[in-house]
Symmetry: C2
Subunit: 232 residues, 2 copies
Amino acid sequence: MSILLYDLAGADPELRFSPYCWRTKMALRHKGLDFETVPWRFTEKEVLAPSGQGRVPVIVDSGRWVSDSWTIAGYLDEAYPDRPPLFPDARAKAQALFVNAWCDGVIAAARPLVMPHLYGLIAERDKAYFKESREARFGPMDGWGEGAAAAAGALVQARRPAEAVLAGLPFLSGDQPGYADYALFGTLKWPDTICPQPVLAPGSTVQAWYERMAGHYGGYAASAPTARTLAG
Amino acid sequence: MSILLYDLAGADPELRFSPYCWRTKMALRHKGLDFETVPWRFTEKEVLAPSGQGRVPVIVDSGRWVSDSWTIAGYLDEAYPDRPPLFPDARAKAQALFVNAWCDGVIAAARPLVMPHLYGLIAERDKAYFKESREARFGPMDGWGEGAAAAAGALVQARRPAEAVLAGLPFLSGDQPGYADYALFGTLKWPDTICPQPVLAPGSTVQAWYERMAGHYGGYAASAPTARTLAG
């Protein structure tokens, strides 16, 4: 039986934009495990009740419910030790966790770029919940885009550690992609899926890596619809 | 013959504050190599001429001159493969480079905290050069401390990826310190050596790790004078 992944979706069920769900999808591809994604909306909390919380990603693997992208990655290595490891050793796991946490800071920095566009793309039934919960965290909705230009600049700054590695290596993890790559890929897949314009400068080191990642695993991520392709 | 390290010094030759030289000193301790440090001042460019550039750290190892802390680390592993590796494998090196580059961003963020105090601690003969070269990069000297409060906040934010790892592990590299630890330790040793007040909040995860690092290798870094201990 294949693994089930609850995957955050927009009004269009094919629009899958969660940076954390993308980390999990790439990790599942890395492990070579069969999985199916189920489109999930912000307000479908009751569906996730067996996981003990209300956010995705959540996987169900032969009746076991596991939530949180980082926890899921650790689970996959423990449950499937015969598959390619996400974390070959303790040092690799420690350093992937560092990159994973750094990526969460990039998500925070990118928020003004993404949030104004996101509201228009989510399901109608999610909008009241989304507005209320996000206004509680980020203030009134009409200010969500404030600082978008500064955010674009911050994002360029924030990418520097990745650029330092990618200047000399194809992947953040070296010759092959690893969890550090999936963490950053998911992070950038989020604005790339939502924003009306591509967020990565063409010809940059990170953009070339992003395309390489999108093309990996048979073009798995490259084939996922974005707001741009769905509008086109 | 032991390795020679040109190590940036203040007016007091015992005040060694360069974040990059600290990375190298900790890397040399990790390798268990004998080395001597030579106090070096900003204006002693001619001393470094054989290295082909004018900044420290520079090491001289049996007549070989090597500069740049990251390059030196790679050199040490290549030249001394029988000693404990700084980079056990390609992935470890890629991920240490990520942390190293991230630390350079922390240095930039911490600059308003350090620069106003630094000028008073460097050698008299360095002051004209230091003022001119830093004003060219950072603007007029009387503005160097602008945004110090914001910098302190940015520093706390910037430490989050480290905190994520150190919440569960003693070192950024796992059970034992590695180059990622030396990169961040050197980074924080810089404001800690220069600032009149400690920059790390007591009781924080990062502060506990910093003390652990300072105490490592027989308390090597803990025994280095700071502006506070020299003034006391």
